[in-house]
C-alpha cells in the first residue's frame, strides 16, 4: 500500500477510544447519581439522565469497534457500572410521570439491551408508557423526532443490517434541506449531526440518506471549517462523524480536521471544550475540582470516543495522510492571504504549517470556507466579493457555501437599492418642502 493511502494507525484509534471509555467510567462513578450543579455557571449543570444516556450512547458506538480485548473489557465493565443508573427508580418514575418522554428516559436502557443486557421489567413499564394517551403529548422538531424513531427502531428490532427505508422524519429534517452555512447556530449544526447519527445508527442498522451523500458532505465540510476555526471541538467532532457514518471515503478536509483534533487531544491530554476554565479549576479543591473538570470535559471526550469508534469500523478508517486529488497549485497560498490579515490564531493553523504545499492545496476548499465564515461574521462584504472572485478563478466556487455567499451578496445588493430609493424619496420630499416653504 502506498504511503498516500495508508490507513490511520488502528492502535492509536483504539487507545483514544479506551481513554474515552475510562473517562466514562470515572464520570459515571462521580456524577451519575446526582448529576452536577454549578452554583456559579448554571450552564454547566448536568442532569443524571443526560450523562447516563450519553454514556450508553458511547458504549453502543464503541461496541461497533470492539475488536480488541482492551475495548471489549472496558465496554463490559462500564455497561455493568451503568446498569443500575440506567434503570434506577428515578428513570422508572420519569417514564411513569412523563410518558411523552418515556423513550428519553429509556434511552440508556435500550442501548444496554441492544448490547446484550436486557431488563424485562423496564420494558414492561416502557410499553405501558408508550401505550398511554399522553404518549405524543409533546411536539418535537425533526431531529428530535428522528431520535424518537431511532429509539423505537432500536427497541423493536435491534438486529444489525441495513434497512431499506429511511426514518419517517428524515425527509423533513435538515438532512434533506440545505443548511444556512453562513449564519447557522450551534443548535442547527447539532440538528444535522444528530440526524445523521440516528439515521445511520452507527452503521449497525443504517438507513438511506434522504439526499445525496455528496451534497450533505459538502455542507458538512463548511460546518467543519467553522468548528475548527472557532476551536469548537465538540460540534467539530460530531461533524467529522459524518464521514465514517455515511461512507468509506474521507476527503482531504475531513482528514485534516481529524488530524487537528488528535493533535489538540495529544497536547491537552483530552479533547477540550471551552467550558473547562482553568481559573475556576484553580479555585476548587478535592472532589469539587474533580467534579467540575469531569462535568465540563466529559462530553467532548465522549465525542472523540464516538469518532474513533466509528473510524475503527472496517473500511471507515481515515487515511494517515491528506489525500491529494486534483489540486490547483498555489490555491492555499492565495486563500491564506485573506486569512492572514486577521490576527486570530487557531490550532488548525499550527497543523497547516506541518503540511506539504500539495497537501495545503488539497484543503484549499476548507480554507475558503473558513474565510467565508470569518468575513460574513464581520460584515466584510467587499472582501467577500473578492473572495468569490478568487474562488471562481481557482475552480473552487462549485460549493454550497460559495453559492450561498453569492446569494447573500445578491440580496444585499437589492437591500442597497431599496435603501437608496428610500433615501432619494426622503430627499425629494425635503426638497419639495423647502420649495413650498420659500413660496409661502
Amino acid at each position: 500500500m502506498s504511503v498516500q493511502k495508508q490507513a490511520w494507525n488502528k492502535e492509536d484509534l483504539a487507545r483514544r477510544l479506551c481513554h474515552a471509555l475510562d473517562i466514562g467510567r470515572q464520570a459515571v462513578e462521580e456524577l451519575a447519581e446526582k448529576g452536577y450543579t454549578d452554583p456559579e455557571e448554571p450552564g454547566n449543570n448536568i442532569r443524571p439522565e443526560k450523562l447516563i444516556s450519553e454514556t450508553a450512547f458511547l458504549l453502543l458506538a464503541a461496541s461497533t469497534a470492539a475488536d480488541t480485548s482492551d475495548i471489549r473489557k472496558r465496554i463490559e465493565d462500564l455497561a455493568r457500572l451503568l446498569i443500575p443508573h440506567a434503570r434506577s427508580e428515578r428513570m422508572l418514575l420519569g417514564m411513569c410521570l412523563h410518558p411523552a418522554m418515556a423513550l428519553d428516559y429509556a434511552q440508556a436502557h435500550l442501548c444496554l439491551a441492544r448490547l446484550g443486557y436486557p431488563d424485562a421489567n423496564f420494558d414492561l413499564l416502557l410499553r405501558q408508557s408508550m401505550g398511554s394517551q399522553a404518549r405524543y403529548g409533546r411536539e418535537r422538531v425533526p431531529h428530535r423526532m428522528l431520535e424518537q424513531e431511532w429509539l423505537t427502531a432500536v427497541w423493536e428490532n435491534p438486529a444489525a443490517g441495513s434497512r431499506p427505508h429511511t426514518l419517517p422524519s428524515a425527509p423533513g429534517s435538515v438532512l434533506n434541506h440545505s443548511m444556512d452555512l453562513l449564519n447557522c447556530s450551534r443548535e442547527d449544526i447539532y440538528a444535522l449531526t444528530h440526524a445523521l447519527m440516528y439515521v445511520r445508527d452507527f452503521n449497525i442498522a443504517p438507513r438511506r440518506l434522504p439526499r445525496r451523500r455528496a451534497e450533505i458532505m459538502a455542507e458538512a465540510e463548511a460546518l467543519l471549517a467553522r468548528c475548527l476555526d472557532e476551536q469548537d471541538y465538540d460540534t467539530g467532532g460530531e461533524v467529522l462523524l459524518a464521514w465514517p457514518l455515511t461512507g468509506r471515503s474521507w476527503n482531504a478536509a475531513s482528514v485534516f480536521g481529524f488530524r487537528v483534533l488528535t493533535q489538540v487531544e495529544d497536547q491537552a491530554g483530552f479533547l477540550p471544550a471551552s467550558s473547562t476554565r482553568l481559573a475556576r479549576l484553580e479555585k476548587l479543591k478535592g472532589s469539587h475540582r474533580t467534579h467540575y473538570l469531569l462535568a465540563t470535559a466529559y462530553h467532548t471526550i465522549y465525542v472523540m470516543g464516538l469518532l474513533c469508534a466509528t473510524a475503527l469500523q472496517p473500511g471507515r478508517t481515515p487515511p494517515s495522510r491528506i489525500p491529494i486529488g486534483t489540486v490547483v497549485p498555489g490555491s492555499a497560498k492565495m486563500l491564506l492571504r485573506f486569512l492572514d490579515t486577521d490576527p486570530r490564531s487557531a490550532h488548525w493553523r499550527d497543523e497547516l504549517e506541518k503540511l506539504t504545499e500539495p497537501e495545503r492545496d488539497a484543503i484549499a476548499g476548507l480554507l475558503l470556507n473558513i474565510a467565508f465564515r470569518r468575513k460574513v461574521s464581520r460584515g466584510e462584504f467587499g472582501v467577500l466579493r473578492e473572495l468569490l472572485d478568487a474562488a471562481h478563478a481557482l475552480g473552487l466556487s462549485g460549493t454550497p457555501a460559495a453559492s450561498q455567499t453569492a446569494e447573500m451578496l445578491e440580496r444585499l445588493a437589492t437591500f442597497a437599492e431599496i435603501k437608496q430609493t428610500r433615501v432619494e424619496k426622503v430627499r425629494k420630499a425635503e426638497d419639495l418642502e423647502e420649495v413650498l416653504s420659500t413660496q409661502l
Binding site: E187, A214, P272, S274, T290, G379, G398, E410, A413
Partner: protein, 81 residues
C-alpha cells in the same frame, strides 16, 4: 464537477457577472444594525420554554470563550483517569 457543483458555480458566476456594487459600503451600513440582528445564537428550543424539559443528549453548553491554552489543560488532565 457534479450537476450540483455546476449549479453552485453558476450562482457564483451570476453574481460576479452582475453590475458593480459597493459591498464594502453595504457592510458598513449593515454593521450599524448588526448587533440587533444577531438572533442566530438564540436557541430556538427555548421559545416559550416549550422544549426545555427534554433531556438534551449530545449537546453541550458553550460559554463562547476560546478553549484554554493546551499546556494549561495538560497540567490538569492527570485528574482525569
Amino acid at each position: 464537477m457534479s450537476a450540483n457543483g455546476n449549479r453552485h458555480q453558476e450562482i457564483v458566476k451570476r453574481l460576479l457577472d452582475s453590475k458593480a456594487v459597493d459591498f464594502t459600503a453595504i457592510g458598513k451600513a449593515v454593521a450599524e444594525l448588526g448587533p440587533s440582528l444577531a438572533i442566530a445564537e438564540e436557541p430556538w428550543e427555548g421559545f416559550c420554554g416549550t422544549m426545555r424539559r427534554f433531556i438534551h443528549i449530545y449537546q453541550i453548553f458553550n460559554p463562547e470563550v476560546p478553549v484554554e491554552e493546551l499546556g494549561g489543560l495538560a497540567n490538569v488532565a492527570g485528574q482525569l483517569k
